[in-house]
């Protein structure tokens, strides 16, 4: 056990609303930027969002088409596996239910994939019934590229590595296929309320 550094507390703040903060997390007012690689910069006229894989009807939208879809403005708490929690974050985006409406799928799983090669796996039931969005605004402003803009997946009920930045599509799959962090040891499901940080938790 290391000796205590006199007076060191770190960036953490006392937990004010503990029923909203999962075990092992601390509340932050910042919005830390985490990344596994360089920030992609896909021009909007080359951007598209695609639903594919085990679906009856694949679908794809250009940026203009995407912005024309019905949107929602969820306010949610987000929890990063690196232990920070940010309360009451505000977003604007398209519900994944809307995106899957015409897809006609019964595939139990999907992989979200992004510019730059990042992937993460999810169960269909984790992203339907109002639980997930593809968001393009944060805090009333267009989503910053370092936070995943032009658009990122937003799945607040799971650890935030599942909310893939720079998302470009969802591929429906019959099996649960580990994505980037899952392959390196992070949990396939990632429920912060069960502290599912690593495989086997």
């Amino acid at each position: 056990m290391s000796p205590i550094s006199r007076g060191f507390v770190g960036r953490r703040q006392p937990v004010e609303a503990s029923s909203r903060v999962p075990s092992g997390q601390y509340v932050t007012r910042d919005f830390p930027v985490l990344s596994a690689g360089p920030t992609p910069h896909t021009p909007l006229d080359e951007w598209s969002f695609t639903i594919s894989g085990q679906v009856g009807e694949p679908a794809s939208w250009t940026w203009e088409e995407f912005l024309a879809l019905p949107s929602e403005t969820p306010t949610v708490d987000i929890h990063c596996v690196t232990k920070w929690t940010k309360l009451d974050t505000t977003w604007k985006g398209v519900s994944v239910d809307t995106l899957l409406e015409a897809a006609n799928t019964e595939a139990p799983y999907l992989t979200a994939w992004s510019d730059g090669g990042y992937t993460t796996n999810l169960a269909l039931e984790d992203v339907t019934d109002g639980k997930a969005w593809v968001a393009y605004e944060f805090g009333g402003e267009p989503l910053d590229s370092e936070h995943g803009g032009p658009a990122r997946l937003l799945v607040p009920r799971l650890y935030f590595w599942k909310s893939a930045k720079w998302v470009r599509g969802l591929t429906l799959t019959p099996d649960d296929e580990p994505g980037f962090w899952e392959t390196y040891g992070y949990h396939n499901h990632g429920d912060p309320w069960l502290e599912q940080r690593y495989q086997g938790d």
Partner: protein
């Protein structure tokens, strides 16, 4: 987000290999180019540390602390100088 370089993970590499590694040369499995470990592009602000090939930017090494045990995955590189 700007990458750091292999100097930023020099301590972690010593921990794992038992000796100084920044001068060791590796070959990227994606593009076959060689570089020193010190020259890797390293992203440390993440759920783990991700090191990318400076030539092609593909992932060559990932370090994740799983329940207190550091796992170093080097499946996308091979050491040219023996580790």
């Amino acid at each position: 987000m700007d990458a750091l370089d292999g100097n930023a993970i020099a301590g972690a590499l010593v921990d794992h290999f038992g000796h100084e590694m920044t001068m060791a040369e590796m070959r990227c499995s994606h593009c076959e180019s060689t570089s020193l470990m010190a020259e890797l592009r390293v992203y440390t602000k993440a759920p783990g540390v991700v090191a990318r090939c400076p030539a092609c930017d593909e992932v060559v090494m990932v370090i994740v602390d799983v329940r207190g045990v550091e796992r170093v995955d080097m499946s996308h590189m091979e050491m040219v100088t023996p580790a």
